[in-house]
């Protein structure tokens, strides 16, 4: 960590609310996006991210710098999101993760027939929607690392620290997720 980041952390540990607000401002995006990767719903992701920062504020003393502050905060956010996801599943408030519902407009409505390349655009949009659907059907064990890495361009080591699995396991799960998705796309005729 840089000297400025260290100073910020020390001030936040000492109870300086402004310093912690600055930490929130700096890291709210990755924490939120990781929560979104786990939950799929912007509203739920925001709740989980707020929970994460509140918990982090109370546990600042336990941060020993073994990982970066960002990884530490994202890991807390990830845990909070998983807890929330479990609770939501238990309550059966949602049958499927909410990100699957954000399908966007029907491609047929957005593509004008007279436009050049309409067919290609339609095909790309169709592929995108199929992929969203297929990612939704992946088991959480494969889907989580795939989306987490996509949410912040994390390295496998960082993702492993957040997921609390060995780096090799994180790497294998992402690779397996891609393989499963490729096979399903092939079976749908998207590639040979």
């Amino acid at each position: 960590m840089t000297a400025a980041a260290d100073d910020l952390l020390e001030r936040a540990r000492a109870g300086d609310a402004a310093a912690f607000s600055e930490i929130v401002r700096q890291y709210q995006m990755p924490v939120y996006r990781a929560a979104l990767a786990a939950l799929g719903s912007p509203a739920d992701a925001e709740e989980a991210a707020q929970d994460a920062f509140a918990a982090a504020f109370r546990r600042l003393d336990t941060f020993r710098g073994e990982s970066s502050l960002k990884t530490w905060l994202v890991a807390i956010g990830w845990r909070k999101a998983l807890t929330r996801r479990r609770r939501l599943r238990l309550l059966r408030m949602r049958a499927t993760p909410a990100f699957d519902r954000a399908e966007g407009p029907d491609p047929l409505e957005t593509v004008a027939d007279t436009r050049p390349g309409a067919h290609a655009v339609l095909l790309a949009e169709d592929l995108r929607q199929q992929l969203r659907r297929l990612i939704r059907t992946l088991p959480a064990k494969l889907r989580d690392p795939l989306l987490l890495i996509a949410s912040g361009n994390y390295s496998y080591e960082e993702a492993a620290a957040i997921l609390r699995v060995p780096a090799g396991t994180a790497k294998w799960r992402v690779s397996e997720a891609r393989r499963v998705l490729r096979e399903k796309l092939r079976s749908l005729g998207y590639a040979r």
């Binding site: 912690f20 607000s21 401002r25 979104l36 912007p42 509140a54 990612i135 989306l147 891609r178």
Partner: protein, 171 residues
């Protein structure tokens, strides 16, 4: 580009789009507000868990007996090993406490012990015994008490047999 690469690119693109977004405005202020909010007490959860645990214990072990018994339970248990044979004849009369039943079981067990048997009179001149040179064992079956009041055991029959391979001599 190979098919795999094209598909992987599409996968990464869609995965990134699924996690694309930003928290709404005022996020930081809401975090500050949340930090300032007193934490929800979880005392009720612990109380509920304790209550459920107590109910489970009572359901499993039963409610502790409230009757006054003069004999401590520990004493009774020492006189009645768990492996003691349970005769179907030994049935506690209605309303009797467990302690009293255990005491009676202990008495019956002692009464059935083999060491009461050597007092059986045997006539060495009896023709059966004279015919057997090496009588080493007497198997005696006694009347089982059909009722707890029949503790004065009576001998019903005596079986005499010669020593057989595998028998052990008793002192």
């Amino acid at each position: 580009m190979r098919d795999d690469e094209i598909l992987d690119t599409a996968i990464d693109h869609v995965a990134a789009s699924l996690t694309d977004g930003a928290p709404s405005r005022g996020f930081s202020a809401r975090v500050r507000e949340r930090i300032g909010r007193p934490r929800r007490s979880r005392a009720w959860a612990w109380q509920l868990a304790g209550g459920l645990a107590l109910i489970a214990l009572v359901a499993y072990f039963g409610w502790p007996e409230q009757e006054n018994t003069t004999t401590p339970t520990v004493t009774t248990r020492t006189t009645t090993p768990p492996s003691a044979p349970q005769s179907p004849a030994i049935v506690a009369p209605r309303g009797e406490t467990r302690v009293a039943l255990a005491e009676r079981q202990a008495i019956v067990r002692r009464a059935r012990a083999p060491r009461v048997l050597p007092r059986i009179p045997i006539d060495p001149n009896a023709p059966q015994i004279a015919a057997l040179n090496e009588v080493t064992e007497l198997t005696v079956s006694v009347a089982r008490p059909r009722d707890l009041d029949l503790l004065d055991l009576s001998v019903r029959e005596v079986v005499i047999r010669p020593l057989e391979p595998g028998d052990k001599e008793q002192p």
